[in-house]
Symmetry: C2
Subunit: 235 residues, 2 copies
C-alpha cells in the first residue's frame, strides 16, 4: 500500500512552541512590569495541557477546544503567580500566543518538498482556527487543515486518525502520521496508519532532551528533520 | 463590524465546472468510442445535483457526500445513454472529474490578493477530499478547506454558514460569503453573514446566461470578478 497523504502533529513537531511561548510571556511580563521565571511558566502551561485533554476524554468536561483549555490553564497560572486585574482582552491576546508559533527552521522547506508528492495536512489537537491562523502567519503550505476538533475527540483517540483518513478519502494505511512524540505515533499505528518519527531534540529546551524509548522497527520511518523525511519519502 | 474572513462557493464561483466536465466527458467518450451530446450530458449531471442534495436534506437519504451523489447521478445518466459494462474504476475516474475543475481566469490572482488581508476558505457542498484535491491541482491558495460535509448539512442550511464562522472563530457578521448564486447568498444573509455576489456570465455556457433577480442593495458587494472583489475589499 502506497502512502498518499501525510498528517503532521503540530506543537513540537512543526513549530517550536517553547521558544515562542517564552518570548511571548517575556514580552507580556515587560508590558505589565511583572518579574517571573517565564521559562518555568511556559513549561507549566504546556504541562497542564495533556491532563486538561484527559478531563475532556473522561467526560469530566464537555467538548472544550484547545484555545479554551489553554485559557483555563493560563488563568490558573496567572493567579498562582499573583498576576491579577488583567482585562479579558489581554488574557485572550496572551492565550492566542499559541496561534503565533514559529516553525522549526527546516519545516517550511521540508513541507514544500513533501507537498509536491503528497497531500499534506496538520493533524493536531489544536483547534481549527488556531491551526489556520498559525499556518497563515508562519507560511505553512498545507493543502488543508484538519484538527481533532472536527471529530470531537483528542489524539490519541482512534477517531482522530481514522477521521482524518476518511476526510481525505484514503485508506488508513495510505496515510502517514508524522510526529516527534511516540505516544501519538503509537495511537496512529493502532489505527493502522503509517508512521514517521521526526527527532526534535530542542522541543523542551537546550540540554533538556527527553528521548523516547522506541523499539527497532516500531515506526516506518525515523527522520532527523523534515528535509531528511522528504528525502526518505522520495520528494 | 469588520469582515475578517471570506468563504467562497466553489462550483461556478471559483471554478468553471461546465467547460471542464464537457472536456472530461468528451475524452471519456473518445476512449470508449461513444458518441453523445456531451454538453447536454454535463448539464444533466449538474442538474441532478440540487435534487439529490434535497433528498439528503429531507432525510430520504442518509448523509451522502457529493462524490457519492455525483456517482449516483452519473450511473443513471450512463444507463440512460446506453453506456454499459464499464469497470467501477472507470466510473470512479470519470466521477472524480469534479475534483479536476479549472478555475476561472481571474480566480487564483484574485484569491492571492484577498489572502494578504483576509482568511480565505472554500465553503462548498463539495466534499472535503474533492475540495482539497481541486485546490492542490488548480493552485487555489486557500488558508484552509471547509466543506458542508463537516457539518452534515448542505447549503443553504444555516448550519453550514454558522459552522464555518464557528470553526474560524469569527462572528457571522465578520464572515463574508462570496458566490455567483443568489440562493446561496440569501442563505448566508439569513445566517447574518456578509455577502458578495460575483457575476459569472459563462457558468452555463456562452449565450446561456441566467441572470438572477437581485434587488438593489440586497447583497453587500456586487463584483464583476475576483479582481474587482479584491479592489472593492481593499486588498
Amino acid at each position: 500500500m502506497t502512502v498518499r497523504a501525510l498528517a503532521f502533529d503540530t506543537f513540537g513537531t512543526v513549530v517550536d512552541w517553547r521558544t515562542c511561548i517564552i518570548a511571548e510571556l517575556e514580552a507580556f511580563g515587560r508590558s505589565i512590569g511583572a518579574q517571573q521565571d517565564w521559562a518555568a511558566f511556559a513549561d507549566d502551561w504546556r504541562a497542564g495541557y495533556p491532563p486538561a485533554m484527559d478531563r475532556v476524554r473522561r467526560g469530566e468536561l464537555p467538548w472544550t477546544n484547545v484555545d479554551d483549555l489553554h485559557r483555563m490553564i493560563l488563568v490558573d497560572l496567572l493567579a498562582k503567580a499573583g498576576i491579577t486585574g488583567l482585562a479579558d482582552e489581554a488574557v485572550d491576546h496572551l492565550n492566542r500566543a499559541w496561534h503565533r508559533l514559529d516553525p522549526w527552521p527546516d519545516a517550511v522547506a521540508g513541507l514544500t518538498r513533501l507537498k509536491t508528492r503528497y497531500t499534506i495536512t496538520p493533524l493536531s489537537n489544536g483547534n481549527f482556527s488556531l491551526l489556520t491562523n498559525m499556518a497563515k502567519r508562519a507560511g505553512l503550505p498545507w493543502d488543508c487543515v484538519i484538527s481533532a476538533e472536527l471529530f470531537g475527540h483528542y489524539k490519541p483517540d482512534p477517531e482522530v486518525y481514522l477521521g482524518c483518513a476518511d476526510l481525505l478519502d484514503v485508506e488508513p494505511a495510505e496515510l502517514m502520521l508524522v510526529a516527534a512524540h511516540a505516544n501519538d505515533l503509537r495511537g496512529a499505528k493502532s489505527a493502522r496508519l503509517k508512521t514517521a518519527y521526526v527527532d526534535r531534540p530542542l522541543e523542551y529546551g537546550e540540554g533538556r532532551r527527553r528521548p523516547p524509548k522506541i523499539a527497532d522497527g516500531e515506526f516506518d520511518i525515523m527522520a532527523t528533520d523534515f528535509g531528511d523525511l522528504a528525502t526518505q519519502l522520495g520528494s
